[in-house]
């Protein structure tokens, strides 16, 4: 242990702690711009300066380890002025159109300038050449806003191992971006938006599609249908100052109704539908492998996450047959709304505008994929992130906090608790096991409260084994079989896991992959900034939503049962194949 004093108060911390972390333990807030807890501490932005006795210059506290007897001062004129100058110099290069910036009132640089008491811009410097990148469906970039903090580079390389972004050029001309400062569509990018989720300023954001939704709502010839992903309900409240993990399902539904959507459906419904299809697909693959001794691709990977799909298409093209052919819940909903529901309300698919609210930037890309037109129209027309919905609610002048709760619409608004947990890492696996186990044995999944505890939580790679006993006659070939499952979140972890599987060092039957740390609750389109603490709170809210429901298994969803009865027939049937399943394509790495 190391003894030091911070602002004359003695403190004992573990060796290897940085001065910044020690200050945090002492309850002192040091301003930062490039620092990301547990992810990046590189002293790039120079905002976290502190004074240390007998050290001539001020030091960046995020990279300074504590030492015995160290005397740290975090608040005196010299420190305050130095931090101010650092931020003023950043502002001198920064395109400061705050009022019209996407990040207005949600910008770390803006609030830091305010907190430090910067009242005028004393320095007017040369500005680097500005370029804006609108080349991809999910993300937009603006070099004039970038402060070169490198947070995006670190999440893209170290967390996701996609490495689309890296500092290019040198000195004043440095830009953060793809190779040779080209557009994002020229390189391997999976559109996950984790860069946008950690960007402190308006340099990387989602493509703003709010006006497209207003235009649809204003068009009397259109029926505008909205679906909301499971992860939205545990995070949207943060856009209105609520605590992370506040469940706002009912308020969100009321807000959407007040804004004029004609029908409000739940992506939870199509998550339940996904389990019916994907669970059946898994059992079919297992039967082929175990009984028919056919050469079938195992393990089967989940396919709900569009960035994971892109990641597999780029980095593991040899394993595309391992991906479940199921479309994601978003796309299943789109296809059902524009066929099954369209028929019910006697509309043509092109008369319906399908809007999705997703915690994700890659969902914008997914909706625009060429394959996603099985209803004879684009199945999902517009995708908004959680943040965009928050802005839209504000634009509508709705006082979100004071809204009363309301219910989503039948028939595609019904859902079970199994669908809620699609929002977090381990959730899709647990939902699938709840249904598959019960189909095969006729009994409930033997875990306390139905939670598959080994795959719950924020550990990067998790696995579990479940031995199937007491099967019903139809599934007797699975008697005594130990089903091995694994779960990975963050693509770096997925890469480790898939590499092991590919090398034959690990064997599984079913693997869940979610791109974003923590799963969709930590998605690239969620309110900023998502720390592990925030992730845990959102996950707790999602499990509470699940546990609060009477129906907690996808096969108990009566709406889904009715859909099969009236329209689809059986899981993996002809119609399902046409509307709910898809293909994947090898993509060239750049």
């Amino acid at each position: 242990m190391i003894n030091l004093t911070i602002d004359n108060t003695p403190l004992t911390v573990e060796e290897g702690t940085t001065v910044l972390e020690a200050c945090k333990q002492a309850g002192i807030k040091i301003p930062t711009l490039c620092y990301l807890e547990n992810i990046q501490a590189i002293g790039a932005c120079r905002v976290c300066l502190v004074e240390i006795e007998r050290v001539k210059d001020l030091v960046a506290s995020c990279v300074m380890p504590v030492a015995e007897g160290m005397k740290v001062t975090t608040n005196n004129r010299r420190v305050r002025e130095a931090r101010k100058v650092v931020v003023e110099l950043l502002l001198s290069e920064h395109e400061g159109d705050c009022q019209t910036c996407d990040r207005n009132e949600d910008c770390e640089l803006q609030s830091l300038a305010h907190d430090l008491g910067i009242k005028e811009l004393r320095y007017e410097g040369e500005k680097a050449q500005r370029f804006q990148d609108h080349s991809t469906a999910g993300l937009v970039r603006d070099s004039a806003k970038c402060i070169s903090c490198r947070r995006c580079v670190t999440v893209c390389t170290a967390i996701q191992t996609v490495s689309a972004l890296f500092p290019q050029s040198r000195g004043f001309k440095t830009t953060i971006g793809p190779a040779f400062a080209q557009n994002l569509d020229t390189v391997t990018c999976v559109q996950c938006g984790q860069c946008a989720a950690v960007c402190p300023v308006g340099a990387i954001s989602e493509r703003d599609q709010i006006d497209e939704v207003w235009a649809a709502l204003d068009d009397p010839s259109k029926t505008v249908v909205v679906q909301t992903a499971p992860a939205i309900r545990a995070a949207l409240g943060e856009c209105f100052g609520m605590e992370p993990g506040t469940l706002v399902t009912g308020k969100m539904t009321t807000a959407l109704r007040n804004m004029g959507f004609d029908a409000i459906f739940d992506t939870d419904f199509s998550a339940d539908l996904t389990i019916m299809e994907e669970g059946t697909e898994l059992l079919t693959r297992l039967k082929k492998a175990l009984v028919d001794k056919e050469d079938v691709a195992l393990p089967m990977f989940t396919s709900c996450c569009p960035s994971w799909i892109l990641f597999a298409e780029y980095f593991y093209p040899d394993m595309l047959s391992n991906l479940s052919t199921c479309k994601s819940p978003q796309q299943m909903m789109g296809a059902m709304v524009k066929t099954y529901y369209a028929k019910k309300i006697e509309k043509k698919p092109e008369e319906i505008v399908m809007v999705s609210i997703m915690p994700c930037t890659a969902k914008k890309h997914e909706a625009a994929r060429d394959e996603m037109n099985d209803s004879d129209a684009q199945d999902v027309d517009i995708v908004l992130t959680t943040r965009e919905l928050g802005k839209m609610v504000k634009q509508a002048g709705i006082d979100f906090s004071s809204l009363a709760d309301s219910e989503m619409d039948a028939p595609l608004g019904l859902s079970t608790g199994a669908a809620d947990i699609f929002a977090n890492t381990g959730g899709v696996m647990e939902a699938a096991l709840r249904t598959v186990y019960e189909i095969v044995t006729g009994r409930e999944l033997p875990f306390e409260n139905l939670h598959v505890s080994p795959v719950v939580g924020l550990e990067g790679i998790k696995d579990a084994e479940i031995t199937i006993e007491g099967t019903v006659p139809e599934w007797s070939f699975l008697e005594g079989v130990t089903v091995k499952v694994a779960v990975a979140h963050a693509l770096g972890n997925a890469r480790k896991l898939v590499d092991k599987i590919r090398a034959g060092e690990a064997e599984y039957h079913f693997v869940e992959v979610m791109t974003c740390p923590g799963g969709c609750i930590g998605g690239g389109g969620q309110p900023r900034i998502t720390t592990d603490e925030v992730r845990k709170k959102r996950i707790a809210a999602i499990y509470a939503e699940d546990e609060g429901k009477t129906l907690r298994k996808s096969h108990e969803n009566e709406g889904v049962a009715k859909l099969y009865e009236e329209f689809l027939g059986v899981p993996l049937g002809h119609k399902s194949h046409e509307l709910l399943h898809t293909k994947y394509y090898k993509k060239e790495l750049v």
Partner: protein, 176 residues
């Protein structure tokens, strides 16, 4: 895979089959690919082979060394020594390090730009010269200094640029 029909002119003046160049690059990569800090020497050697760093070669290097293309591009962009554009047969580097700068390096550069009708990073139409700037050759005592290929020219005066360049034109003619 690199396009075997791609036309690349080597800075040494000989036209070498592109396939041969990539074979040579592969030999280099075998030696360096697992070495810590191997990227920069590989890029240097590759630039020597191709005369510049063509995109195909950079992709090839990134793949073989198992490094992100964005990182390879970042390193190439960081050092002014590396060029992704075909260059002239003679590369002029004007030192703008502190000593050269204060002793008139900037004026030497301006004079070169005027004489050659090109800007920094460009190549003359006749492909004889490319103009680049550098930060310190470690020849501060000779400031202001310029390098043409491997020759260092010391205490350069802006008015004497024509004379310095003349022999290189002459060599061009002889070779032709």
């Amino acid at each position: 895979m690199p396009d075997a029909n791609m036309s690349v002119t080597c800075s040494c003046g000989t036209n070498e089959n592109n396939e041969t160049l990539f074979d040579k690059l592969d030999e280099i990569l075998e030696e360096y690919k697992f070495k810590e800090g191997g990227l920069i020497p590989v890029l240097q050697i590759a630039q020597g082979l191709f005369g510049f760093l063509p995109e195909e070669a950079l992709h090839h290097i990134a793949t073989k060394m198992n490094k992100p293309y964005s990182e390879v591009a970042g390193v190439v962009g960081f050092y002014s020594y590396f060029s992704t554009q075909p260059r002239g047969n003679n590369v002029i580097r004007v030192c703008l390090g502190t000593a050269c700068y204060v002793r008139g390096g900037k004026q030497v550069l301006d004079s070169l730009k005027k004489e050659l009708h090109i800007d920094v990073g460009e190549t003359t139409e006749d492909k004889v010269f490319s103009l680049e700037v550098a930060r310190c050759f470690g020849a501060c005592g000779l400031a202001p200094a310029i390098m043409i290929n491997d020759d260092v020219h010391q205490r350069v005066k802006p008015t004497r640029i024509k004379q310095i360049l003349a022999p290189y034109y002459k060599t061009e003619m002889e070779e032709a």
